[in-house]
């Protein structure tokens, strides 16, 4: 069946035209990210994703991970070799500092590389994702000695990292964390159980560096009493060699709906003498650190939505071109045709395509903002980028992952019965996609963040700044020739208006009618996603039109971009008005029943 082919053309378009790679390459420290360099990087990343990671996606799913005696986890055949090839290529360290062996490239360059690896093999790519999170944490909050001890091997990928937040009683609400950290000289002894730990134990690396949230003896209750510890699977000797095994073990693996290549572990800390852990940063500030880190992790998980959508889309297109069934409505007397001739299949494929391209556009624009929030020399520009990125991250995470599920779901529908059976591979994408709306904060949690911290708390300031940019674009669209552009403009104008009135409503009612506002949170997130996606797609269509007029561009690509945007306008932007109603009115019904009535 169809193999993964990296969508390099759309990736490059999103990078260069929408996210502004050229500007990122001007930021201090990002000078290496020249267009030719990025081109070469993308080409090779596409090759290794398609050639090394993708081929074991299906077999890894079928085989899954196994917990073996000695608390050892065996990953599916070929995973270790593929992972090794990936890290030996230096891909793990792409956006980490050169000081510790990384390549120091901007987030925006890491973004498409991650997308391709995730699309090729979501489960396997998680290992690097979590390692990246742990690296970030140590880079920001670790001591120099901790950095020296752990970072070079983690950046090289020969050691992986994990994030240990969740406990049986503490999921979305981390204030309930109970794991204990007992001080003992230079270190602490960690006791407790962590669940759902991605790549918590596996055989692809030499050591695993766990970052663990736990409470010290006198810590205050709630979120302000949680500290962050680094707990290596094998203790590291002074000379950097591996010492004895720490008191942390994988006691079971989850049996999951998807991402079977990624072991999800239950980790027991301190069953014997207590696991040795080292405090990262200041005591009791662990959760605060985690929240800073979480932005990056949420960004990456949002990207998983884009990636899986793209993979499912490619798969469905290939099938729709091959499967012969039914007559062409335009030629009912003719032979049976491939199903891509049928309008309903077209509608589904275009929905998949439009969602993939729009979530990608939003992701890359957000990625660029993260770079600018770190690197813009002008403090005001830096702050504006930070505010934009902070606002966009829950939208991107929530909307792109929900879109990924929707696209994978449509992908199955395009396949008909062949989608429901496992052989075609279409089902795996839905199973794999399904986790993305859950981990790193469910869609509900993202939506709460969006309406609360990101909107109401600042009186809708960033939202309004974004709306102003959208209005600027509407003016440009008004001046653009052609019926498509006008249809896009009017759909976007209505959607922006709906979005703006919802922002105002949330700001006005957040305190006074908090239940109703929270009931509308996820619909609002979806509305925000659709509007931001439409905004970026409309920009893309405008640029495509200009490129076509200038000549020399790929006419097929540009006209498809315009047509996809038009479809997006009529299909998704058109939902905005309905969502406005839902945002503002769903609360009444949602909260109407008493608990007993359920």
């Amino acid at each position: 069946m169809s193999d993964y082919i990296a969508p390099l053309q759309d990736i490059r378009f999103a990078l260069n035209e929408l996210a502004g790679l050229a500007r990122i390459a001007e930021l201090p420290g990002c000078e290496e990210a020249t267009p030719e360099m990025v081109d070469a990087i993308l080409d090779e990343a596409a090759k290794i994703s398609a050639g090394v990671l993708a081929p074991i996606n299906k077999s890894g799913d079928a085989e899954g991970c196994k917990l073996e005696p000695g608390f050892h986890v065996r990953t599916p055949a070929g995973c270790k070799e593929a992972y090794r090839q990936f890290i030996e290529g230096g891909w793990n360290g792409l956006n980490f500092p050169q000081e510790f062996g990384g390549q120091g490239l901007p987030k925006l360059v890491a973004t498409p590389v991650m997308e391709m690896a995730m699309a090729a093999n979501l489960g396997l790519s998680l290992c690097s994702l979590l390692t990246g999170g742990a690296i970030e944490a140590l880079l920001r909050y670790g001591t120099d000695a901790q950095k020296q001890t752990y970072l070079p091997n983690m950046i090289a990928g020969t050691w992986s990292g994990t994030m240990n937040l969740t406990e049986p009683q503490a999921g979305s609400d981390l204030s309930l964390i109970r794991s204990r950290a007992q001080p003992e000289g230079e270190h602490h002894r960690i006791y407790g159980q962590k669940i759902f730990i991605t790549h918590g134990e596996h055989d692809m690396v030499d050591n695993i560096i766990h970052l663990v949230l736990a409470r010290t003896p006198d810590a205050p209750e709630g979120v302000k009493g949680i500290s962050l510890f680094v707990v290596p699977k094998f203790l590291v000797n002074a000379d950097g060699s591996l010492g004895r095994r720490n008191d942390v073990r994988c006691v079971s693996l989850e049996h999951k709906l998807g991402i079977h290549t990624s072991p999800t572990a239950v980790l027991a800390y301190g069953d014997e003498e207590g696991a040795i852990g080292y405090l990262v940063g200041a005591e009791n500030r662990g959760l605060e650190y985690m929240f800073v880190m979480m932005n990056e992790a949420r960004f990456a998980v949002g990207l998983q939505g884009v990636a899986i959508a793209d993979r499912a889309y490619q798969h469905a297109v290939a099938y729709a071109k091959e499967r012969i069934q039914g007559k062409d409505l335009a030629n009912p007397a003719g032979k049976s045709v491939s199903i891509i001739h049928h309008p309903d299949i077209r509608r589904m494929l275009m929905s998949m395509r439009a969602l993939t391209e729009s979530t990608r556009a939003v992701a890359y624009v957000t990625g660029a903002a993260i770079d600018r929030a770190h690197g813009e020399p002008d403090p005001a520009a830096r702050e504006a980028a930070r505010a934009f990125a902070d606002f966009m991250i829950p939208i991107h995470k929530g909307w792109a992952t929900e879109a990924g599920v929707e696209v994978a779901n449509l992908g199955i529908q395009v396949h008909g019965g062949m989608g429901f059976v496992e052989e075609t591979g279409a089902a795996q994408y839905l199973r794999d996609a399904r986790i993305t709306t859950i981990y790193e904060g469910t869609t509900g949690i993202q939506a709460n963040d969006l309406i609360g911290r990101k909107t109401a708390r600042e009186g809708g300031k960033t939202a309004k700044a974004i709306i102003a940019q959208m209005q600027g674009l509407l003016e440009q669209l008004a001046a653009a020739p052609g019926g498509d552009m006008q249809a896009i403009r009017s759909a976007l104008a209505e959607a922006v208006a709906a979005f703006e009135s919802c922002v105002d409503w949330i700001v006005a009612n957040f305190r006074s009618d908090t239940l109703a506002v929270h009931a509308g949170a996820v619909p609002f997130l979806k509305l925000a996603g659709i509007v931001c996606g439409g905004w970026q797609m409309a920009r893309a269509a405008l640029i495509a039109q200009q490129q076509l007029a200038a000549g020399g561009a790929d006419a097929a690509f540009c006209s498809a971009k315009i047509a996809t945007t038009r479809f997006y306008a009529d299909t998704f932007l058109a939902q905005a008005a309905g969502l406005r109603h839902t945002v503002m009115c769903t609360g009444a019904g949602a909260m109407a029943l008493t608990e007993q009535q359920f």
């Binding site: 082919i5 390099l8 290496e32 020249t34 030719e36 360099m37 081109d39 070469a40 990087i41 080409d43 090779e44 090759k47 290794i48 050639g51 090394v52 090839q85 030996e88 290529g89 230096g90 891909w91 360290g93 792409l94 390549q103 790929d554 097929a556 690509f557």
Partner: protein, 250 residues
């Protein structure tokens, strides 16, 4: 010992090319281009020779348009030390390329020139042999194994009936077959380092080579299409059809 590798920029092997409607050629607009796969193998072999301490320097050469610089960067990302682009917008036919390479070889004085056995665009399978001929050097085409010992190369070749091993006096030309090696994926740090490796650009006129084409293409056509036949339900019917319908079996 210096090794020269010739690398060509061609349509990526995954692309299914389409003949232009006006019959003037194939449609190359916005088509993905890559290094010719056989050249990639040649480059990998050169780099392995360097890693094995046999070669001291690997120089990649490409002849063609400005964008061939990307191909040279790819070669350098695989491990070539520097690149030379003989830049020309003109159509370069194998004889012209061989002459350009001859001029470069005369300057660079390599002991070994590695090339792909053929380029997957025009499928000519000529340049290596032509270069060897112009230099008066021995050649080993279709190589599946190369061993260098002193001033001799022992090369195993894939020939029609099997394999043969030749011993060549260096300097020599070797062209790679598919099974010579499996090229590595370029590592990210190497891609970044490649950017900083020297890349010289020269013109055919600097080398005093006349590159005018000797063959003119009158037309390019789509080959006759084979259409899908029928599915047969079982072996019995297959044999029946082969005997009585296709008449290819007695």
């Amino acid at each position: 010992m210096r090794v020269l590798v010739a690398v060509k920029r061609v349509v990526d092997y995954n692309v299914k090319v389409r003949v232009k409607a006006d019959g003037t050629g194939v449609d190359l607009a916005n088509v993905k281009m890559s290094m010719n796969p056989f050249d990639e193998i040649a480059c990998e072999e050169a780099v392995r020779l360097k890693e094995a301490g046999v070669a001291t320097e690997v120089v990649a050469v490409s002849c063609g348009v400005t964008a061939c610089q990307e191909t040279l960067r790819s070669a350098m990302a695989l491990g070539a030390d520097r690149g030379i682009l003989v830049e020309s917008e003109a159509e370069l036919q194998p004889l012209a390329v061989a002459k350009l390479l001859q001029a470069v070889v005369n300057k660079e004085a390599p002991q070994l020139v590695l090339l792909g056995k053929q380029a997957i665009d025009d499928d000519s399978n000529q340049v290596g042999q032509m270069l060897a001929s112009l230099m008066g050097w021995p050649q080993a085409t279709f190589a599946s194994k190369v061993v260098i010992a002193g001033d001799k190369a022992s090369v195993t070749r894939e020939i029609d009936g099997g394999l043969e091993t030749l011993e060549l006096k260096l300097p020599a030309v070797v062209t790679s077959d598919l099974r010579l090696n499996e090229p590595r994926y370029a590592a990210l740090p190497s891609i970044m380092k490649a950017k900083k490796k020297p890349l010289a650009v020269i013109k055919p006129s600097d080398l005093g080579v006349d590159v005018s084409p000797r063959l003119s293409t009158l037309k390019v056509a789509e080959p006759p299409k084979r259409s899908a036949g029928v599915r047969v339900p079982d072996v019995k019917q297959l044999v029946d059809k082969l005997r009585n319908e296709a008449k290819v079996l007695p």
